[in-house]
Every structure is written in structure tokens, then in C-alpha cells.
Homo-oligomer: 226 residues x 2
């Protein structure tokens, strides 16, 4: 699904230089639920953004669905992101002037596509937002906004989903609903999901955990249990 | 420290009415570390905002430090918030154009006050931001931004601190640092801290847990252990 080779992302220069990623090499396997864990500031969000074509690396390569991201022009990158990649942002990034429903359907409406009705109903029902769809983000609780962001990433059924801490603002029950949904989209619908998390319980839902520290991969765990 | 009586907050009206708080009555005790837990959407953030004078309730009373918030005019409320209350927002609410240091010192500079240098150093050191003070929020990771928000609330050593999910974006080690700092400000410096959290481990640091559901208090736990 995605191959990362020698990925490096440097911010600033000289004294102020920050090596957010420092030569990361790893694979995200097709139809697997992979967790990415590591200390605050270790490069997890940066890794997600580079893999999802939301940011350009300083060095190294990212291949998604057989395509080297560096070979794509901006227009092609935009189309790849829109059609094949789902992204849940750590800070939600919802459009404040749109309702929850409009936010959830936005990527597909831009692409001129309609969602599969059954899948849409399942996602909305599972994240528990049915009675909040007409509200705008500032009328929603933190956890409700996060669930809108999750639904938005899943509804278009992208081949690969990058979820940056999708349950950080959720109580254990809503969190479990979201995690089962993510696991289900992998096990039943063949999607590939990569999830950044700080929560060992969330990691327990995945097939494999990759650990980052100081911008590098430092460890890996197969079949984690909480 | 704070007494809440019959607190009600209603959004919308008629069919669209949402009772975010529905007759909440409870006390936050002086020099205690209280946790507020409950499902996503149960009213935790709304309760924090009403108690911290960031929002006006529909009904009921909030008394903070002996003062009925409803008796204060806007200017007096602003001064109370600035001088006596510290607040950590669920979505951080940092000023994007200011550096971490400027964000942390902002409430005090507005009040024309300087922080206690030893306390300032302790807070900065404990939240682990010493090498990030000159960066702006968009140059910081999610967890780093959250730690800036925590430091901002604590540095002025307010008599009461309301922290809305202060460790939601932190790995277990940074989270433990923040929680020990909050506990320390209660045990050693006599502050009152009220913390919304979804994390049982975080609740384990507190003296008492209050549970909300559907805008009401439904349960309470003394001396919780994770
Ligand atoms: N402006 C608003 N208009 C309508 N409903 C609102 C508004 N603001 C908040 N609400 C609703 O009030 C309820 C309580 O929200 P609140 O943010 O207090 O929940 P919370 O317990 O903090 O949830 P979370 O754990 O997800 O952060 C939610 O159902 C939310 O949708
Ligand atoms: N624009 C920038 N300029 C300078 N440094 C940056 C910039 N963006 C990110 N960083 C730094 O890069 C490092 C990695 O950030 P990243 O957001 O990937 O961490 P993270 O693992 O997601 O952390 P968290 O768990 O706190 O969300 C951090 O130390 C951060 O301060
Ligand atoms: Mg991050
Ligand atoms: Mg909240």
C-alpha cells in the first residue's frame, strides 16, 4: 500500500534546524491496520502528512499505491489525495461554515462522486452522529468534531486511510466504536489503515505497531495486545 | 473554591433544543484536584466554560471564590478571569502569530504582571518546552501545542484552574509530567484544579471524580485509583 524509504523532513536551518523525520524506512502493508506510536514531537504527524501527500519531504521517497509521490505534479497529487487517500487530522480541520453533513461529504462532492448509501449510513451510525448532522463545528463538542473528521475520511472508502490520533478526544465507548469501525474497514472491506495513537488500548486493535522516536523508527511489534 | 447550583445551559430552541447542562449541582473544593468525566457530548466542556466565566448559563448559579458570576458586569468578569482563573482549552486556542513564550506569558502581560521566576522555570521545565519557546504554534506538534496551553494556564498561578482534557494529545510520559505538575500545584501550592479527562490513568491522580451524563451529575468517586 505504501513504501517509505529514507524519508527525511527538516525544518529551519543552522542552529534552528529541526529534523522532524530523520531517515525513516518502513512499509505499510495492504489490508492491514498499522499503529504508529511514539513520544510527543517524535515525528508521527509529519510522517502521516508526508505519506498522504499533504507535505513534501526534504529527502527520501514515498510510494503510495505504486506511485512515487515525488513524480506527481501538484494537480496530480491533489487528485490522488482526493480519490485514494483519507486523512483524519490531529486538529480535525473542519470547515466552520459547513454543517457536519456537508463537512463529511465535502471531499466527495468536490470529486463529483456520491457515497455508497449503505456504507454512509453505517459510518454515520457507528460514529453516533445521526442527530448532529445539521450542526456546524462550533455547535459540537470536541469529541463530536473528532467523529465528524473520522466520518469524513471514511465515507469515500479510500484505499488508504491515515488517521492522526482519531480517538484522543473520545470517551472509551465512542473510542471503541471508532476503532471497531476502522478495524472493520480493514478486515471486511480491504482498506489499509495507518493510525497514530498514544493509547495502548487503541494499539490493541491493530495488526502491527511501529514505534518512532526523534524522527526515526526504533521498534516494531506484531499482533499487539493491550 | 467554586459552588454550582442548578446550572442549566440550553442551545437552540423548540425541536432543535439541546440541553447541554440540565440542572447541575456540585462543589469544587478548595485545594483539591477534581476530575470531571463522562461520555462525549455529556456537557463537560460546557460546565468548564460556565464555571470559568467564559460562557453565561441559561439558569442556575455559579459562585467562584465567593463571587456570584451573574452579579458581575462584563468588565469585572474579564478581570476575574484574567487574575484568578486559569483555563486550558480542549482545542488549545493559542495565538498563531505569537511564539510559545509569548503565548504562555500573554495573560500576565495583559494584566501588567510578571511571573514568579522560579515557578515559571519549573513549569517550562516540567512541560518540556525549553527548546521550543521561540516557535509559533504551527511549528509545534499537537502535543507541544497542548503543553503550551497548559503552561499558559499555570504560569500566573491562578487560584482555580479549569483544564479541559489537558493530556489528550500527549504520550504517557509527557502526560505523566503534566499530571504531576497539576497535582503538585494542588498539594504544594494550594491551588484548586478541575480537570476534564477521558483517561482513567489521569483520573487516578485526582482526589475525587465527578461523572456527567446528558448534562447531569450522575455519580461521584472519592480517592480514585486507576
Ligand atoms: N452552540 C451549540 N449549539 C448547539 N449545541 C451545542 C452547542 N455547543 C455545544 N452543544 C452541544 O452540547 C452538548 C455538550 O457539549 P460539550 O462540549 O460540553 O460536551 P463534552 O462533554 O465536552 O464532550 P467531549 O467529551 O466530546 O468534548 C453536545 O451535545 C454539543 O453538541
Ligand atoms: N514548521 C515547523 N518548524 C519547525 N519545527 C517543526 C515544524 N513543524 C513541526 N516541527 C517539529 O517537528 C517535530 C515533529 O513534529 P510532529 O508534529 O510530527 O510530532 P508528533 O509525533 O506528531 O507529536 P505529537 O504526539 O505531540 O502530536 C516536533 O519537534 C515539532 O516541533
Ligand atoms: Mg502529532
Ligand atoms: Mg469537551
Amino acid at each position: 500500500a505504501a513504501q517509505v524509504r529514507g524519508l527525511t523532513k527538516v525544518y529551519g536551518s543552522g542552529q534552528a534546524e529541526v529534523r522532524a523525520l530523520d531517515g525513516v524506512t518502513l512499509d505499510f502493508h495492504e489490508r492491514q491496520f498499522t499503529a504508529v506510536m511514539g513520544p510527543s514531537g517524535s515525528g508521527k504527524s509529519t510522517l502521516m502528512h508526508c505519506c498522504a501527500a499533504l507535505d513534501r519531504a526534504t529527502d527520501g521517497t514515498v510510494v503510495v499505491g505504486g506511485t512515487d509521490l515525488a513524480s506527481l505534479k501538484d494537480k496530480q497529487l491533489t487528485r490522488l489525495r482526493r480519490d485514494r487517500i483519507g486523512f483524519v487530522f490531529q486538529s480535525f480541520n473542519l470547515v466552520p461554515t459547513l454543517t457536519a453533513r456537508e463537512n463529511i461529504l465535502l471531499p466527495m462532492s468536490i470529486a463529483g462522486r456520491k457515497p455508497d448509501q449503505e456504507w454512509y449510513d453505517l459510518v454515520i451510525d457507528t460514529v453516533g452522529l445521526a442527530d448532529r448532522l445539521d450542526h456546524r463545528p462550533n455547535e459540537l463538542s470536541g469529541g463530536q468534531q473528532q467523529r465528524v473528521a473520522v466520518a469524513r475520511a471514511l465515507v469515500s472508502r479510500p484505499s488508504i486511510v491515515f488517521a492522526d490520533e482519531p480517538t484522543g478526544n473520545l470517551d472509551s465507548r465512542s473510542g471503541a466504536e471508532v476503532l471497531s469501525l476502522l478495524k472493520r474497514s480493514v478486515d471486511e472491506f480491504g482498506q489499509t489503515v495507518v493510525m497514530v495513537t498514544h493509547d495502548p488500548v487503541a494499539a490493541g486493535y491493530t495488526d502491527r505497531v511501529v514505534f518512532l522516536a526523534d524522527g526515526k523508527v526504533v521498534d516494531e511489534l506484531r499482533q499487539p495486545t493491550a
